[in-house]
Amino acid sequence: MINPQSPIPNPGPPRIDRRFAALAAAGRTGLIPFVTAGDPSPEHAVALMHALVAAGADLIELGVPFSDPMADGPVIQHASERAIARGVGLGDVLGWVAQFRQRDADTPVVLMGYLNPLEMHGYARFAEAAVQAGVDGVLVVDCPLEESAVLAPLRDAGLRRILLAAPTTAPARMAQLCEAAEGFLYYVSFAGITGATRLSTADIAARVAGVRAGAKAPVAVGFGVRDAASAKAIAGFADAVVIGSALVERLAGATEADEIATRAREFLAPIRAALDAP
């Protein structure tokens, strides 16, 4: 049994970079599921993370619940509300990552959330605790590059700062984002909130090709992916596919560990298979 207070030694390049390098070497497209931490059940949050990995996740995006998730759609907002109603806070999320690390030293974990919970926790204190827990990167939805000075303690502690890019991002700004990208660049492929679809796959393919050519990190694409077919369509031009709302929706309401794991597996397995098919 490993003491959660002493993290598993993690030598060499950061976990996210190692994972993407391995994917590239194997010629595979990464699968990045997003779940809201503490939903559908705080008791089984860690079990869900392991289930995601067992179902083929290459990296886990863990949403930190926030009361006012301005950039998320109703599915993720409601998941956040459910988690908050059960008392889930940033401290719990870090605790779950630490527990997850006891059995999984390799799968990168990125926390995704909003600035206010981090600010109230204290940036330096959060950074230290996150590294200690085994978090690899942080994506702060409402903290664009221009305001990211406050996140310096996170980077100093070794956490990757995951940036967003969008179809509406102007060319000069896109060049800045590509230059500043680390870990991976998360391309939200429709001009909208999470969970909606707008642009055609061909549009996205052309845009992402340009971004990939310039970015100093791999590019993950979120495109309102709902199933194997939509994931496969993106796999051709992205380093990784992010699946959020559809998964959160599928998990909602499950209460038992077995049921949660079964739903995660049944949802992700066909997507994993489609991504790996020649």
């Binding site: 006012d68 907002q77 409402d142």
Partner: protein, 403 residues
């Protein structure tokens, strides 16, 4: 003394008022905000645009609004003279129209055919629906389900004006949730849609733009004071929810060091009870709705539910310029309880024949407190930001009266 600095130089080029403001939004909003910032920068220096705005403010809104000496109220209180800046006499009955006329003009210049808005008390929704009707634009107003229930008259007014009112059932079902939902609509439909934010919050350039459009209130009042009384007031006060009517009044006076500035926040059932909306008096610096400002939140950073008898003040954040003015010591922010506001409402009604909005009644209550602190020849200027017709059902219900 804080007067050494020029308070009119804010925000800086990043949209910051000292440590506050900025653009804390998702990447998808950066481009539309940049487009808006550039359009507004250009228009705000365009004499033709400004002339168009002046015409609308004069002939459509009905400006200037008077500064009225509330003589019987002042006598009743027994202190300084209380003067009311009568924004309640504007078209649609509140200061909100100053801003919506301005933003609708910006929208038209940007070629947007659809406008959206969030609303709490419904005043901003009505003001948005009004200008949308006038300019022939489609209008969608997001409103918390709780607010829809307590502001039925304004909901119906918006519908009469041709707007679609969308109930918001997430979170606390009030103003902050309506703002989240409107922001989502904007992100999704940004190509043809202009988001008319109703207060001096949100990401840059909104706090600046909304302030600029409301600053006519203070500019007029300052001139009227000099013309009618030959001097500036000793103290000025306004209610603060998001803070648009307050910054509208305060801005022209910020560099007048001799003018005391006091904002009245909603203390609800009392700040000690936790049931209030006093972000500046009882909150802490944080990030909400695209800007850094004072917010009401718990130790996990979750925004807390607020309470006020007035829907328009029921907001857990506040405009970043107010946060800056508080820290700079240029303005004081104090709490007025529901009961104090209601008492002021009744007193103003019976001494002056004016039904003030519940929001504005907080400012009246604060003006009464200030008047008691000053001698009889002193001047206390209060922004009467809106009329109270929309609130008569709320007041009747609260006082157990069947209407």
């Amino acid at each position: 003394m804080s007067s050494i600095q020029d308070f009119h130089r804010w925000p800086d080029e990043h949209g910051r008022f000292g440590a506050y403001g900025g653009s804390y939004v998702a990447e998808t909003l950066m481009a539309p905000l940049a487009e808006l910032t550039e359009a507004y920068r250009r228009l705000s220096q365009d004499p033709a645009f400004l002339a168009e705005l002046d015409r609308d403010l004069k002939h459509y809104v009905g400006r200037p609004s008077p500064v009225y000496h509330a003589e019987r109220l002042s006598q009743h209180v027994g202190g300084a003279r209380i003067l009311l800046k009568r924004e309640d006499l504007n078209h649609t009955g509140a200061h909100k129209i100053n801003n919506t006329v301005g933003q609708a003009l910006v929208a038209r210049h940007m070629g947007k055919r659809r406008v959206i808005a969030e609303t709490g008390a419904g005043q901003h929704g009505v003001a948005s629906a009004t200008v949308a009707a006038r300019f022939g634009m489609q209008c969608v107003v997001y409103m918390g389900a709780v607010d829809i229930e307590r502001q039925k008259i304004n909901v119906y007014r918006m519908k009469l004006l041709g707007a679609e009112v969308v109930p918001v059932t997430s979170g606390s079902k009030t103003l902050k949730d309506a703002l989240n939902e409107a922001m989502r609509d904007w992100v999704t439909n940004v190509a043809d849609t202009f988001y008319i934010i109703g207060t001096v919050a949100g990401p840059h350039p909104y706090p600046q733009m909304v302030r600029d459009f409301n600053a006519i209130v203070g500019r007029e009042a300052r001139e009227q004071m000099l013309a009618q009384y030959g001097r500036l007031p000793d103290a000025i006060t306004a209610c603060v929810g998001g803070g648009s009517n307050a910054i509208g009044l305060f801005h022209a006076f910020l560099n007048d060091a001799g003018v005391r500035i006091v904002g009245a926040e909603a203390a609800g059932e009392g700040i000690a009870t936790g049931h209030h909306a006093a972000s500046l008096a009882a909150g802490r610096p944080g990030v909400l709705h695209g800007n850094r400002t004072y917010v009401l939140c718990d130790d996990n950073g979750q925004i807390t539910e607020t309470h006020s008898v007035s829907a328009g003040l029921d907001y857990p954040g506040v405009g970043p310029e107010h946060a800056f003015l508080k820290d700079a010591g240029r303005a004081e922010y104090v709490g007025i309880t529901d009961d104090e506001a209601l008492e002021a409402f009744h007193l103003l009604a019976r001494t002056e024949g004016i039904l003030a909005a519940l929001e504005s009644s907080h400012a009246v209550a604060q003006a009464i407190k200030l008047a008691r602190e000053y001698p009889k020849d002193a001047l206390v200027l209060c922004n009467l930001s809106g009329r109270g017709d929309k609130d008569v059902h709320t007041i009747a219900a609260r006082e157990g009266v069947q209407v």
